[in-house]
């Protein structure tokens, strides 16, 4: 035990004096936490949409006056979404050459409202209202005497004759022009579809909804981006340290003869493995503390780790450090060791929702992520640190515990203590 403690303190001291290791293992995850939290903490994203409104009121000299009432109502409806910022494009700007959209307007996406929009919407509105009335009569026909039904039909026919010109049974069309490199074209199209749908409802007089969606968050009062990313990047830090930094350090000790020197002392190989695991566990707890303090100071996140959270952090550090010891034991070159470690850690972090929530990933990836211990690790850590819950935590303990035992035995078995190259 004395040897184990002494070697652990030596490894800690050596690590703390290694600037590259400190940056890579501590500051790098901290920077990621700050960047990701800041990027995603700014509330809903706003999309800029330029509008070319060609539907102008008639003047004595022809079209060219103020925008028509309904075309402006559509623009207002867009602005009321809070996620769209409307910019104006001169109606005289020529958009026929679609390859020059951004050059001509200075915008990646332009919504074109055609001339006659107001008139066509009004016509379609009347036609649709009449259709609705007819449908209503048909559905309630048994309750209306036949003589009254005939009178209503005659009235509707008379109204139809008074419809504005241009009402030919097709809706008014607004067109969204986008450039090929417009990454936000998809979400903007969805938002505009929603806006147009609401506009349609209003144009036929449907002001009161028949069904609405309410969202209600249970448990924690507010869950912000830093709340998500703090546990995620604590796990990332543990994974990077265990699977990338440790193999590199072990391979270096092996190559420069330090390990051979230690093997010639009474130190045994399991003590070497356990000392590395203990060092990383201590670092994991200490660096978690640093990240929690930074998250509190910068984002106001309150995350006080209890015994279960600390135990989970240590268990993960044990499992992933032992995995790193296995990688370091089979690779001789430190550069190759860090590459192999990165080849394991980075894809696992990507598919496990470290960098973004799993919900935004394809369903196949989401299914795969459920098999990743890293997914369960940061999810459970979030339960313990942020949500003050133990949902799924004990499953994660079991999973990480099994991995820790397996990797520890593997690391002890594979760590070379004789026949050095």
């Amino acid at each position: 035990m004395k040897r184990l403690i002494r070697l652990t303190t030596t490894l800690l001291r050596d690590w703390l004096r290694n600037r590259e290791a400190v940056f890579f293992a501590a500051l790098f995850p901290l920077l990621l936490l700050l960047i990701f939290s800041l990027v995603f903490a700014g509330g809903p994203t706003e999309f800029e949409v330029a509008v070319q409104n060609n539907d102008l009121q008639q003047t004595d000299a022809g079209p060219g006056g103020e925008p028509t009432e309904l075309s402006e109502e559509l623009v207002t409806a867009m602005e009321q979404t809070d996620v769209i910022t409307v910019e104006r494009v001169d109606p005289h700007t020529n958009l026929t050459d679609t390859t020059q959209l951004e050059k001509a307007t200075g915008h990646k996406r332009v919504l074109v409202i055609p001339e006659g929009f107001d008139e066509r919407v009004r016509a379609e509105s009347g036609r649709v209202r009449m259709t609705v009335i007819r449908d209503t009569i048909n559905q309630t026909g048994a309750e209306i005497p036949p003589s009254d039904q005939d009178a209503i039909e005659r009235g509707l026919a008379a109204l139809g004759d008074d419809q504005p010109t241009g009402a030919n049974g097709s809706p008014a069309t607004v067109t969204l022009l986008t450039t090929p490199d417009d990454d936000a074209a998809g979400p903007v199209t969805s938002i505009l579809n929603s806006v147009v749908g609401t506009f349609n409802d209003r144009s036929i007089g449907v002001e009161e909804p028949t069904a609405v969606l309410a969202t209600e968050q249970r448990g924690n009062a507010s869950f912000s981006a830093p709340d998500y990313f703090l546990p995620a990047f604590i796990v990332a830090m543990i994974l990077i340290n265990g699977v990338m930094t440790v193999p590199s350090a072990v391979a270096k000790f092996k190559r420069d003869g330090t390990l051979k020197r230690l093997a010639a002392t009474p130190l045994r190989q399991h003590e070497w493995v356990l000392a590395n695991v203990a060092q990383q566990s201590i670092l994991a707890v200490a660096l978690t503390g640093v990240m929690i303090v930074v998250a509190w100071a910068v984002f106001g996140v309150t995350a006080i780790p209890g015994p279960l959270a600390i135990a989970l952090i240590v268990l993960g550090a044990v499992a992933f450090t032992a995995l790193g010891m296995i990688v370091g034991s089979v690779i001789r070159d430190p550069g190759s060791a860090i590459s192999l470690g990165g080849g394991i850690a980075l894809p696992v972090m990507f598919i496990s929702g470290i960098f973004w929530e799993l919900d935004v990933m394809p369903s196949t990836i989401q299914r795969v992520a459920e098999f990743s211990p890293v997914t369960h690790y940061h999810r459970s850590l979030r339960q313990l640190l942020i949500l003050d819950s133990t949902d799924g935590v004990f499953l994660t303990f079991g999973m990480l515990g099994a991995l820790a035992v397996t990797f520890l035995l593997g690391a002890i078995r594979l760590t070379q203590w004789q026949e050095f190259d």
């Binding site: 003869g257 330090t258 020197r261 010639a264 002392t265 009474p266 004789q418 026949e419 050095f420």
Partner: protein, 317 residues
């Protein structure tokens, strides 16, 4: 060959090590006596490091056995590591730790260590003990390595190529430290490919060639047996070309001629009279050379037994 004295602290019996079809060590046997500096001499790849690593329990022999202080090096490895100090070839340790911290680590890995301050003082490390290992010169790094081995208070100390890569002053300094360690009562096993190191330090020498033990005895006995004569060393003062005029004369008179690792022309003579006559003849020729008449050494023994000489890197030529 070898010794059967009862005060032997190391006994090696038919030790053999194979790597696939390559025989690194071909069944060597020898003993090391208590409190002697025992030299293992040989070119690179002769089997010196394999031998000491087998004795340290860092390798498993293909055949044969070895004991240190009466314990088998395989079965008693853990107990032996308490009593055996090691300074490996290309020694390295935690480079961001100070010399003192590295020595303290070694102290704490052993059950019955010496005082750190005492060892630091013995090796003259006082002024550098708080420098990080990576900031120390090669000579002081080697001293730190020896201190790390000595702090375990070993009965046997293995030094594997302890002066390779050091400048002449640092080499000489390291030699004095090794002498000092031996004077304190520690048995030292020294592997090297430097002839002068062996001649200066070793009480007895085992000469390894191609994994086999070619000779084993004291330096003087080996010289008496294998290179009893004297030699003339011709060093050109204006460049090697100037020796052309004396080369023919030397080849005619000497038993054998060769160039040593500094490029000097060397002629060996079985008897001193012939060598002195040749020395006079060459001097009379008034060449631009410096000519020295010296006794034969381990290099000549090596020449005789291995059929070549060693360059500065330990490669057989």
């Amino acid at each position: 060959m070898g010794t059967s004295r009862s005060d032997s602290v190391i006994r090696v019996d038919g030790l053999r090590k194979e790597y696939g079809s390559t025989v690194a060590l071909d069944g060597i046997s020898f003993s090391v006596r208590e409190n002697e500096i025992f030299g293992l001499l040989g070119p690179n790849g002769a089997g010196k490091t394999v031998t000491v690593e087998l004795l340290q329990g860092l390798r498993t022999p293909t055949a044969g056995s070895a004991t240190i202080l009466g314990r088998d090096v395989q079965t008693g490895s853990l107990a032996l590591k308490e009593r055996v100090g090691v300074v490996p070839q290309s020694f390295h340790t935690f480079e961001r730790l100070t010399a003192r911290e590295n020595i303290e680590l070694m102290r704490d890995l052993h059950a019955d260590p010496a005082e750190v301050d005492t060892v630091i003082e013995q090796l003259g490390l006082d002024a550098y003990a708080d420098e990080t290992f990576q900031d120390l010169s090669g000579g002081y790094q080697r001293r730190t390595g020896i201190a790390m081995a000595l702090v375990s208070d070993p009965d046997v100390l293995f030094l594997d190529e302890p002066t390779t890569g050091l400048d002449p002053a640092a080499r000489r300094d390291t030699w004095e430290q090794i002498r000092h360690v031996a004077d304190l009562g520690t048995t030292v096993v020294l592997t090297t490919h430097y002839m002068d190191e062996i001649e200066y330090l070793a009480d007895r020498v085992a000469l390894l060639v191609d994994g086999r033990l070619a000779a084993l005895d004291s330096v003087s006995a080996l010289i008496d047996q294998y290179a009893p004569g004297v030699k003339l060393v011709v060093r050109a003062t204006d460049g090697p070309g100037e020796t052309d005029t004396v080369e023919t004369a030397l080849e005619d008179a000497a038993q054998r001629t060769y160039r040593n690792d500094t490029g000097d022309l060397v002629g060996t003579f079985a008897d001193r009279q012939t060598a002195q006559d040749t020395f006079s003849t060459l001097h009379a020729a008034d060449t631009e050379c410096t000519i020295d008449l010296i006794s034969a050494g381990m290099e000549d023994v090596f020449l005789e037994l291995a059929g070549g000489t060693l360059d500065a890197a330990g490669e057989l030529r």
